[in-house]
Symmetry: C2
């Protein structure tokens, strides 16, 4: 019997890469979905390609969608990326790098692809622990999306498909996610997190995402493979 | 006091144009949202521009999103557009012009724009009467999306925003929609419905969408302003 297909949202970061590896370990055939949504950090897309290739996906689609038309996010170029904040500050509230309704949009596309693939399983690397201010990373939201999916498609309504949103990291912090990724065989050096990398794709070491990543490796007790722009940047030093 | 803002999904067809006019009549400031999603019938976009301009929207955004990457729909070029079918055939089941999870995706973008605009009202020209096979046009689906929206954004979770999905046409057939649009002052000659227009944007007169449109005008008792490729094409003749 062929493996069940799953659509996995893959951004090239640690969370979604770990999620890909967990979906693979659960026996799914991987259909990875990455969005080119006008983000500043395009090297995220290269990271997604490398990670997906390394894990051996059946298919990898990079969908181009323009989220810049609405404005309102540092990720899509309207606002400044904040640097050197404390982790308390990073973890509370919604960061300016928030993209409006992002997970709702991403899950909708995943659902559309599921319909075409006749797949029922969607994996997302959402976590409700860090960035607790993101409402669309919480289990309540993900459960509600599952109920929406049941009503949104013919296969769902007719009971031929039962869509499931898998968020295996939802209760993990960054250190736990790094450990889970490491255990599941993710080559973490292929992943990218920085919101403001150099032209050579070196991480800035000071944006919210770099700070969380550094601290995560430190707490996980795993050597940080990230290439930082400042070679003196000691993991965890600024935190 | 400034008018309340609403995001209105505007495709350039009769349904969404009527919806725009109804939102205007209800006193909303119109923020029209059109998708360039790789559809065959690009002149739909021109129609959307004309209709939105004629109704005097505060803003019109055309968002480019690539739904072709998944395949699976005649609208996005993978399958043949069927011609000359009976209306019974047209109305039953899901047409090949269905785009997977389309309304879920469109509403998600509308929600994202609402967040940026600090708007709470989304209008969609969904109707559950014709094309009864589209699950994502039914009131159950739309109500579920409203519940999702309440959990998807910070303003929703904190009770500062109460998102409403308005689908004023949901229980109308095409003739009733045409009458409602006419009454609300829509210039129906600006709208476009055909799935397979000529290079000069003339309607084919034979695809499902043309058949429903012709019959609608006939039943509404309103002269059909559509420019058909075949000038002998008598409205309603093939039905």
């Amino acid at each position: 019997m062929a493996a069940r297909k799953a659509v996995i949202l893959a951004s090239g970061g640690i969370d979604s890469s770990t999620t890909l590896a967990l979906a693979k370990r659960a026996g799914f055939s991987l259909h990875a979905l990455t969005f080119n949504y006008g983000q500043r950090h395009r090297c995220e897309l290269d990271a997604a390609r490398r990670v997906v290739a390394a894990l051996g996906a059946a298919q990898h689609v990079i969908a181009r969608i323009d989220l810049r038309v609405f404005g309102g996010s540092a990720i899509t170029g309207d606002l400044e990326v904040p640097k050197g904040r404390t982790l308390d500050r990073v973890r509370s509230g919604i960061p300016v790098t928030y993209v409006p309704a992002r997970n709702t949009i991403f899950l909708s596309f995943a659902l559309g692809w599921c319909e075409v693939l006749e797949a029922e399983d969607i994996f997302i690397g959402a976590t409700a622990v860090d960035y607790s201010g993101y409402p669309d990373c919480r289990p309540e939201f993900l459960g509600q999306f599952e109920r929406l999916a049941a009503l949104a498609t013919k296969a769902g309504v007719e009971g031929r498909a039962r869509y499931r949103i898998h968020a295996p990291l939802v209760n993990m912090n960054k250190a736990e996610i790094i450990r889970a990724g490491w255990d599941a065989g993710v080559d973490l050096s292929l992943t990218h997190s920085c919101y403001d990398p150099t032209a050579e794709s070196l991480a800035c070491g000071a944006c919210d995402s770099c700070l969380l990543r550094k601290r995560g490796f430190l707490e996980a007790g795993i050597a940080d493979p990230t290439r930082y722009a400042d070679p003196e940047s000691t993991p965890g030093k600024r935190i």
